[in-house]
Symmetry: C2
Amino acid sequence: MNKSKIAVLGSGIMATALTFPLAENGHEVHLVGTHLDRDIIDSIKKTGIHPNLGLKIPSTVKAYQLEEIEEAFEGADVAMSGVNSFGVDWVGEQLAKVVKPGMMVLSITKGMQADEDGNLYILPDIIKKYFTKDLVDSVTWSAVVGPSIAGEVAVKRDTCVVFCGEDQESLDKLAHMFRTDYYHVWTSTDFVGMEVAAATKNIYAFAAGFNEGIRDKNKEENDRYVRFNYGSAVFAQGQVELTQFMQLLSDNKTLSPRHLLVGSGDMFVTSMGGRNVKAGRYVGAGIPFSEVRDNYMKGVTMEGVAAIRVIGGAMEPLTKRGIIKESDFPLLRHLYDIIVNDQPLNMPWEKFFDGEK
Amino acid sequence: MNKSKIAVLGSGIMATALTFPLAENGHEVHLVGTHLDRDIIDSIKKTGIHPNLGLKIPSTVKAYQLEEIEEAFEGADVAMSGVNSFGVDWVGEQLAKVVKPGMMVLSITKGMQADEDGNLYILPDIIKKYFTKDLVDSVTWSAVVGPSIAGEVAVKRDTCVVFCGEDQESLDKLAHMFRTDYYHVWTSTDFVGMEVAAATKNIYAFAAGFNEGIRDKNKEENDRYVRFNYGSAVFAQGQVELTQFMQLLSDNKTLSPRHLLVGSGDMFVTSMGGRNVKAGRYVGAGIPFSEVRDNYMKGVTMEGVAAIRVIGGAMEPLTKRGIIKESDFPLLRHLYDIIVNDQPLNMPWEKFFDGEK
């Protein structure tokens, strides 16, 4: 196999975990910390250990502080954006300075942004805004999506993902670089549909906490019967709305097997736990979201909540413009009401599944 | 609301749980035990308590032993089949004697049967075989599908289901009889598609136990990183194959919101636990299925395992006939190998999601 050089900006757990299969395949990997990652990079330089991942990273992966970014990206075949959705504008600015024609840009950030008219954009489009038109056209754009908990990749647990993007040849090259006997990679050129599925599933992770919260409120912890029926119906309505988002924004209108991996599989793993589920649990227990945000989970980054704010905020302009119907996305609209208008949880069941009749 | 009379054959937990919303709506409900339910009916007659459900059933529900079936079904508007998939032929024989023209037959049994050529039949079609042609045509056929744990319905936890069948008017009437503020009912005339989704999801519940079993085998119980990536990929491939089954057997080719409730939602809840998941966990831990069946879970009814045997057994004849491709249903084919040929678990990842490339 030809060896490639991969430079990564952002040394969070997901970006770092992806260096494991790359190192295993013998590639040269340069991991660059953001200004927020200074301690992580220091730790790796000193001990080889990524503190949040709790693991020694492969010895061939070379760590760089942000001021060394130019050296790190010099001559790279692949430029990876490894920050979370809050850092995507910043990463666009940075990459604009170090990405060179011919590189393959690979994004692992899940999320979307909206403008005032409710138009929704996938995050690679946000990064592109910071590039010159020539540079945009002289590189290829791809992203990693699918159900993938970072630490599991790092400790070589079986993981199935999709590399999506505009250019099949780049996707094939990238997939080849990353594939191991535990990291299974498929490809798709439905860039927008896949990115939309990956972004919207976070929304519904917040709702996945409600049933446990209702149990907390009603002190049902020793009750023989739980609320799986509630949770599975919410999961299914999440699937309905995720599918509709894909159909709305992508030219691809059907749920292919790989869309099911990215939409259904990723929503499944995200529903199993995490910060968004925890926030939803508090709301299910009857605590107004403003209190969850300001007290119970003060300072905690919640990408699902951010996605509800962004994508939920697009509902009104999109409805006014006649692009979606008032009856579309009833769950997201209710989640938006909970988060932005501090409304109590009151699940609008009758609006689900195309409306009860 | 007009009051109706509903007679139910089978007094297992699901059939009995459904008498709760019916009784709440003021309908007359007759619950008839099978020959295996004698103790349950005795208990209800004496104390009002259903022993397996652990609950007092509504006082207006009248319990009958099997020898009283004719009295119980006399003048009923609805004849419910409330047994599990192993009892469906027996229930056909019994209902053939007591169902009268004009009744609405409602099935809650999930499963399929196959003939030697691999043709698959939904269970209402099996019941029909025991009816005269005239009787088949003089009643209507419907079924209850969707994510619904029996006990949760009985204790009034929110539950979303689909009533599917051939006749919209009957579906509307039945939905009206059952709907309460916690039992939410949608309808669909894709009888076959919905029944296939409900039947096949049990198959994949068995596979949902593998990841925990691998953890058991590797003694990873205190490990920071679990195997959610594995579980979610298996869940997603289950969704792929369930979808393909629906497309194969139903005229309806797209996943509507209600199909997602019945397919995706029900597979979600089934994956959360139960006997099929437990059996899969043993296999994941490295125990041959024959030992699980004969020792660890001797005598335990496993509908998912039965479904793998029946539906998995249809793979070979359907492939020979050119109706499906060799590469279709790789997960089900492997589950069949595990259960019927006692093969060890060795997940064929590269065949998933239309084949890795």
